[in-house]
Structures are given as structure tokens and as C-alpha cells.
């Protein structure tokens, strides 16, 4: 069998190393999410002529179970970059630069994120890489300081900014902010007995861990600690039955909107009359849609304010444009990513460099305050020392079947 195989291997190795360097241009459209391939190409042509191009990296789940989420985050990035380029780009150090998004799919798998991030650095020389999940964030934090690339992570895990990584930016708020006001509201309205049924995902575990001590310190009692696995449990009725067996006043649920809606509905079917404490991710408006309009199911819920119920000067245009372009309401992941691009673009201008990740990171807080009023999707007060964005939050409650917004101070 001799030479043939050796030749084949040689061929493969050389083909691989010859072909790829030229793929800096092919690297841009590959992650093209289903259905938006056209936009990606369009975006390429929109790079303003006669300007320097700055590649912005992205590695997230564009396929598999997380595809919906990943594409939402990508939509936020794409919109911001398109807008910036349409305005002529950004002026850094006297020269005009336009942004170019290079997106790669990692299917939520950390080792894929690691490969993608290295690829982005090597082939596209990206100063910034967006990673919308914590596993991938950890996998990238291993080498991002060494390679001097800013990691913009959309992950609630407080630890990602507590490990002393100098080049990490945490985009979303940590969840501890929600827990106390949610608990106070529900305990006052329904009573002290809490049953916990979070999804067995990272978000769910974070929340549950944060919620339990807070609920107990407010004088409440946790009567059931379970979890529900949307991809594995064949029938939620069983777990919901157990969660309700101790007559709780409040049920803690969450996850993607579809399965959360299912769990809430089944709890009502089993006769639950208390309130729902819903963690982030699931959106009250979507849940209502999934159930085909079910005010009696969602009544008595408290959750994170959906972006579309919190319209103000800063996000009006964004929400309008997003609905126009994608035909549905933007979620918080799209909004935060959109905002983050503007913050980074401003930080580059402040820092006077599009390459030096350290300088960009140090100017994030200044950049934040330079973002135009009408691009401030959320009420973010600062980017703190560790790189975390501090957001002022509001909550949504359902009273008499109507979704209402409440400030945390009330």
C-alpha cells in the first residue's frame, strides 16, 4: 500500500497549509447563519472604501441547540456594525476605519471556541472577539492575554471577570441584581413558600444558587429544590408534580421561553395558583405568545423586563430597525451586543488605536460615556475595574393579565 498513502497525507498537509492563508477573505462569510447569507455578503460590500478595515471576531453557537440564541447575538452585532459603517466608519488616530464582522460557529462547544478564537487571531487579526457563552469564554481566556485580544463575553458568570484576566469585558449584568427585588415582590404578593424548578443549565444553576439564600434571608422557606432538563425529561408533569407537592406559594422557573411556557402551563393544569418567579432568558411576552395568549397562566409572574416593554429614547430606533429587518422583537442578547459594539468603537476612538487591546480595554468606560444618546439601549452606568458592565435594571410583573414595569427601588 506504500507510497500512495504517504503521498495522500503529504498532499493533505500541503493542501491544508496552502489553501488556508488565502482564506482570510473566505473566513468572513462562513458562519453565515441560515437564511441570512445574503446579508453577510452585503455587509462585506458595505465596508467603506478607502478606509482601513478592522475585523471584529465572533464565535458562538450558530447551529445546534443554541442556534436561535447565537443568531440573535449575531444580529445585534451585525446591525451595529452596519450602522457604524453606513455612517462612514470610525475615526481613529486621524484615519477612517470601518468594521468587518468575522463570525464562526462553535456549537456551544468550548474546544471549538478555542479553535475559532485562535483562527480569528491568526487569520483575521481581530482585536476583539465576542463569545456569548461561559464555556467558550473560559477556553479563550487561556490565551487571550498572551495573544493580546479583547474578549467581549456575554455570560452572567461573575467569575469570568474575577479571575484577573486583564482583557475580558463582561457585557450582561450578573444575576444577583435581580434576585432580591424579585424575591421581595413575590413573597409579599403570594407568600413565603418557594419551590425551585430551574432548568439544569448553567444559567439555571447560577440563579438557583443565588436565589436560595436571599429567599431564606428574607424570611422565606424553600420547600422543594429540583431542576428540569428540557432536553432529557420525557414528561415535565412528573417533575412539576413533585415541585408542587409541598403546596408552594411561588414557583421558580426559567430557561428558553418555549419550554418555560410548557412548565408554567402544566403547573397551572395541576392546580397551582401561586406566582412564578422567572429567571432571565425566558421572556414574558414570548411565553404569552407560545401559549397563544394565556393571561391566567402568566398572571402573578415576575421576570426581567422585555426590551420591547421598556422603550425609551436610547432604544426606540434600534427596536424599530430590528423589527423591520428580522420580523420579530429583539431580545436582550441582541440589544446588549448592539450596545457593546458601540462602546468598543468609541473606546477605540478614545484609545486612538484599533489594535492595542489593552488600550481599548482601559478606555471602555470612557467609550461608554461617548456613545450617542440614541444608541444607549440599556441604562449602563459604568464599565467597572474588572471589565463588567453595570446596568440599572427594571423588572416586569404581571397583574390582572397585563405586563407592567416596576423600578427596583419601588
Amino acid at each position: 500500500m506504500g507510497m500512495f498513502l504517504g503521498g495522500l497525507l503529504l498532499l493533505m498537509t500541503t493542501a491544508c497549509s496552502e489553501e488556508d492563508p488565502s482564506s482570510t477573505d473566505t473566513a468572513a462569510p462562513p458562519g453565515a447563519p441560515a437564511g441570512s447569507g445574503g446579508e453577510e455578503v452585503e455587509e462585506q460590500t458595505e465596508v467603506v472604501e478607502g478606509t482601513e478595515v478592522v475585523n471584529i471576531g465572533f464565535s458562538g453557537p450558530l447551529s445546534g441547540a443554541g442556534a436561535y440564541y447565537g443568531n440573535n447575538t449575531l444580529n445585534g452585532l451585525t446591525m451595529a456594525i452596519d450602522e457604524i459603517n453606513a455612517d462612514g466608519g470610525i475615526e481613529v488616530d486621524g484615519e477612517m476605519h470601518s468594521l468587518n464582522l468575522v463570525s464562526l460557529d462553535d456549537q456551544y462547544l468550548p474546544d471549538e471556541t478555542g479553535a475559532n478564537a485562535r483562527r480569528l487571531v491568526q487569520e483575521s487579526d481581530t482585536p476583539v472577539i465576542f463569545v456569548p457563552h461561559s464555556g467558550g469564554t473560559y477556553a479563550t481566556q487561556i490565551f487571550n492575554e498572551q495573544d493580546e485580544v479583547l474578549l467581549a463575553s456575554y455570560s452572567s458568570e461573575p467569575e469570568i471577570t474575577q479571575q484577573g484576566n486583564d482583557l475580558t469585558m463582561r457585557i450582561p449584568p450578573t444575576y444577583d441584581a435581580y434576585v432580591e427585588p424579585f424575591s421581595e415582590y413575590q413573597m409579599e404578593r403570594f407568600g413565603p413558600k418557594l419551590s425551585m424548578l430551574p432548568p439544569s443549565t448553567e444559567f439555571g444553576m447560577d440563579w438557583a444558587e443565588e436565589l436560595k439564600p436571599v429567599w431564606e434571608s428574607l424570611g422565606g422557606e424553600v420547600v422543594h429544590e429540583g431542576s428540569v432538563d428540557y432536553s432529557m425529561d420525557t414528561d415535565f408533569f412528573t417533575v412539576v408534580t413533585n415541585a408542587l407537592s409541598d403546596d408552594p406559594d411561588v414557583l421558580f422557573v426559567g430557561g428558553s421561553s418555549e419550554p418555560t411556557a410548557q412548565v408554567m402551563q402544566q403547573a397551572r393544569e395541576l392546580g397551582f395558583e401561586g406566582g412564578f418567579l422567572i429567571m432571565d432568558q425566558a421572556k414574558l411576552d414570548e411565553i404569552d405568545n407560545v401559549l397563544g395568549g394565556a393571561p391566567d397562566v402568566i398572571d402573578g409572574s415576575v421576570g426581567v423586563a422585555p426590551l420591547v416593554y421598556d422603550i425609551h429614547e436610547g432604544n426606540e430606533q434600534f427596536i424599530h430597525d430590528y423589527q423591520e429587518e428580522h420580523g420579530n422583537d429583539p431580545g436582550s442578547e441582541a440589544g446588549y451586543h448592539y450596545y457593546a459594539v458601540y462602546i468598543i468603537a468609541e473606546a477605540m476612538q478614545e484609545a486612538g488605536t484599533v489594535e492595542d487591546a489593552h488600550a481599548i480595554r482601559e478606555n471602555l468606560d470612557d467609550g461608554l460615556h461617548q456613545v450617542p444618546e440614541d444608541k444607549r439601549i440599556y441604562d449602563v452606568s459604568e464599565v467597572d475595574e474588572q471589565g463588567g458592565m453595570t446596568t440599572e435594571l427594571r423588572m416586569a410583573v404581571v397583574e390582572d393579565g397585563e405586563i407592567e414595569l416596576v423600578d427596583f427601588d419601588d
Binding site: 414528561d235 408534580t241 407537592s245
Partner: protein
Amino acid sequence: MDVLAQQLFNGLTIGSVYSLVALGLTLVYGILHIPNFAHGALYMVGGYVTLMTMTTLGLPYFVAMFMSILVVGGIAVLMERLVFHQLRHSPPIHDKIAAIGLLLFLETLVQLIWGADYRSMTTPFDDIVSFLGITVTTQRILIVVAAVLVMIALHLFLKKTMIGAAIIAMSQNREGAFLQGINANRVAMLTFFISGGLAAIAASISSPINLVYPGMGHLVILKAFVIIIIGGMGSVPGAIIGGYILGFSESLGATFISSDYSDIIAFVLLVAILTVKPQGLFAKGAH
């Protein structure tokens, strides 16, 4: 709410679904000695066809279910013709690999066409009924009743019709069946059709209480394997009884042991059984 009674009914509901899936698997194994790993993918396709027929064509639930039976049964027959029939003289390891290939293909195809998100299926049967301290929706009653009806129909078909008798004969004695002049190809195709149809029915009745997504068949098929090993590979009554046993042990296990580990019960059960009896319970002698 009486938790024990409620959980017994929940077990009955899940058990009904498991039984139907396991029945399809055991029929195919009985006739062709193929452990069809792709059976879970057929289940998943069944859920999607019903859902999509309802939402895009606007057809009523039962019509959609009928469509689903035809489509999935058809896919199963194609699988038999194009793949397993070609491999009938190959070592058994090849059947398994091919089945895994089919599973991966179908799952990705569905994801390509309909995306990876969770979807829910709404049916007209969402009224709530309470009796004996338990609360159920009419959909859950439908699951239990439909499963029993399907089982009775299958029983009658196997016992009372010529072609059904041929299936039984072939599963008991392949060579003997040939000598009797049974058309093995026709029997194999028909068995695959029934198997696919059962998977489609199971998915169609259980989807409204659960969700439809590309990975929905993963655990169900694994559990179906556990069931047919408990019940004896190829045994029809074994698959039915095994399905209900697993349903009950899961819902009670989740209540009295730990809900985190309820999914593990099936596999621990299987590992325990095969540890004691490597040929499975009720093995019909070594083949």
C-alpha cells in the same frame, strides 16, 4: 392533590409512549435481528411531520397524525430497502454503524429544514379533568387510550391476518418461514412500515405534552432499548409490559429517590439485568 396517585398516572402516560416506541423496535429486531439505532430518529421525524402538517397545512390533529404514519412508515421502508437489505450478508457490526449513520442524517436533515428550536404542539385536547385526587388533561387520557387501542389493533393484526401470521412465523423461525413460502422481502418491508408507523403515533400523541426538537428521540430510543432487553428482544408482550414498568419506575423514582437521577434509573436497571443475565431476561436461547 394526591401525589402518589398523580405520579402513578404520570407513569402510565410515559409508559404508554415508551411501549409504543419499544414495540416498533422489537418487531424489527424479531424479524431481522437489527438493533435499529435510527428508530429514535423516526420518532423525532414523526413528531415534526405531525406538527408541520398541522401548522403549515392547517390540517386537523388526527389527519396530521395519519400523514405522519404514512411518511415515517415510508422512510422506514426506504431504510430497509436501501440500507439494511443491502447489508443482510454483512457482519452485524455493519448494521449498527449504518443505523447510526441514518440517525445522524435524519437528525441533521430535520434541523436543516425546521431549525433546532424547541417547538410546542397544541391540540384541541387541553381540557382539565380531575378525579380520584389527580389532575390530568384530556391529551394525557388520549395518550393512554390511544396506546391501548393501537396495541389491540396490532395484536389482532398479528394473530388474525395471514400477513401478520407471516411476521410471527418469520420472527420465530426464519428458515422455516422460507420453506413455508413466505415472501421474506415483503414481510421485512411491512415490518419496517409498522415500526415506523408506531414511532409516528407515539411521537404524535406525546408531543403535545412535551416539545418537538431535533434531539427529542435520543433518550426515548435508549430507553426503548432498555425496555426490549427487559422484555426480551423480539417479544411483543415483553415490549408492552417493559414500557409500563419503566414508566412507573421513573415517575415513582423521581418522587421517592431523586428527580436529578430519574433518567439514570432505566440504564442502571439495564446494566443490572445484563450483569446478571447477559442474554437479557427471557432470552429465547442463544441464536
